[in-house]
């Protein structure tokens, strides 16, 4: 096995390299089935990060990982499952997307989330679980092993146009971040 290349911070100047037109609209806002996933990325003092980058990757409503090209050049019709957005001055991010279906019958649906920021030396992985299916959440292999106050950080709440998922990098309500072991 070869040792992986180390990560480094995305730095403050990623916008012109990584942002692109339509990056946060996996589907056109307001289109049939579109929901909003939004939230804030917050530091240990509770302040929003104005220079964070959030990416999401998710199954479609059928529960299957999309295998479609076109994330960088959206055509408004193809669901690619990938989105990216830089946070605004108050640390807010917004995606327009579809609800992911369960990948197995009865499993809890979630959106995989990656966070990058100036001041954050390597990316962080987490999951934004949808709150609607309580039985599925109770049976989830990750959530069921977490105490209630930690588990709460991984479950999006219902918002006006969809779901709200805040990401707290540090502190008492720090989001549970994930490691997939092989790295």
């Amino acid at each position: 096995m070869t040792t992986p290349t180390p990560g480094q911070t995305v730095g403050p100047f990623f916008h012109y390299g990584l942002a692109y037109a339509g990056d946060n609209d996996l589907v056109p806002p307001g289109s049939t089935g579109a929901v909003e996933l939004s939230g804030r990325v917050l530091d240990g003092a509770g302040n929003g990060l104005q220079d964070a980058l959030v990416e999401i990757w998710q199954a479609g409503p059928d529960g299957r990982p999309p295998r479609q090209q076109g994330s960088l050049r959206r055509d408004g019709w193809t669901f690619t499952g990938f989105g990216r957005t830089a946070t605004s001055r108050d640390g807010r991010y917004v995606f327009s997307t579809l609800l992911p279906g369960p990948t197995r019958p009865g499993s809890a649906s979630f959106i995989a989330v990656t966070v990058f920021a100036r001041g954050l030396l390597d990316r962080l992985f987490t999951r934004a679980y949808l709150p609607d299916d309580a039985a599925a959440l109770d049976g989830d292999p990750l959530l069921s092993t977490l105490p209630a106050e930690r588990r709460r950080t991984l479950i999006a709440t219902r918002g006006e146009r969809g779901y709200v998922f805040d990401i707290r990098l540090q502190g008492a309500d720090e989001t549970v971040f994930l490691d997939f072991a092989a790295r």
């Binding site: 070869t2 990560g7 480094q8 994330s71 499952g81 990058f116 030396l121 962080l124 092989a182 790295r183």
Partner: protein, 260 residues
């Protein structure tokens, strides 16, 4: 714009940062554990103080979606996007370079047809970014962002301009070693990597808290490209080779072309 150095009121000296860097590396060596990734809690990088988790990450078995990565292709990337020296009225100023290498997973298997994105400062150390206030010249013929897809062997290749070092306000007289930012995807979500490629022999390495946040010297070397005379082309550009290993990637190669 000013024609003289900026004041550094209230900023700590390099010596204070360097002393912390040296002490942390000594502790790390003493502990003896192999550290192949940057520390998220690395006080010499002042901006990390409120931005690193206090808790260790939770280890999980990846679920279906995490065993796959987004699919990019010819529809997303124009082959011309890999040449950062074109697309403007004239030639950019600076040292024209080729940066190329191979992307593999931990088992040495090539990462095929996947997206590579880069961004960087120009030859004077200035980014095309509103928040970059360094009073070095912008180059009207250089933006500094590019993309490509890896080929069937995992190879990527960019033509660009060698970036300059630039100052930042971590401490007094803080300078980043010249680098190119890289964003990479593997065949699985967990392989996602954003990092920086450096140039060999940079005298700023030992002074830079971002580079030094990787406390193991061998691991830091993995971010440094090698000058490659075979990549250098006659009367045109010098060449740097930088191979990248994306951790994870436990699916077998037979599965990579399967539909989920």
């Amino acid at each position: 714009m000013s024609s003289s150095p900026a004041p550094a009121l209230g900023l700590e000296p390099q010596s204070a940062i360097s002393a912390e860097i040296v002490a942390i590396e000594a502790d790390s060596q003493h502990a003896g554990a192999e550290e192949n990734q940057p520390r998220l809690d690395y006080p010499p990088y002042r901006s990390s103080r409120l931005r690193h988790p206090h808790r260790a990450p939770r280890t999980v078995d990846p679920e279906t979606i995490e065993l796959w990565a987004p699919c990019f292709g010819a529809r997303d990337v124009d082959p011309l996007d890999a040449d950062l020296t074109i697309g403007h009225a004239g030639e950019p100023i600076g040292e024209r370079i080729i940066v190329a290498g191979r992307i593999t997973d931990s088992a040495g298997r090539p990462v095929r047809g996947q997206l590579v994105e880069i961004w960087q400062a120009n030859a004077a150390g200035r980014y095309v970014h509103l928040r970059d206030q360094h009073p070095a010249p912008l180059d009207p013929n250089f933006t500094g962002a590019g993309r490509c897809l890896t080929d069937g062997d995992g190879q990527y290749r960019f033509q660009t301009i060698k970036p300059g070092p630039y100052p930042w306000r971590n401490h007094r007289n803080a300078w980043r070693p010249a680098h190119i930012h890289f964003s990479l995807f593997g065949t699985e979500f967990s392989q996602r990597l954003v990092t920086q490629m450096y140039f060999p022999g940079d005298p700023l390495f030992r002074l830079d808290p971002i580079f030094q946040s990787i406390t193991d010297a061998k691991a830091r070397e993995r971010l440094v490209a090698a000058y490659d005379h075979d990549l250098t082309s006659h009367e045109w550009a010098t060449g740097y080779r930088w191979d990248i290993v994306l951790g994870g990637g436990r699916r077998t190669p037979l599965n990579t072309e399967e539909t989920p």
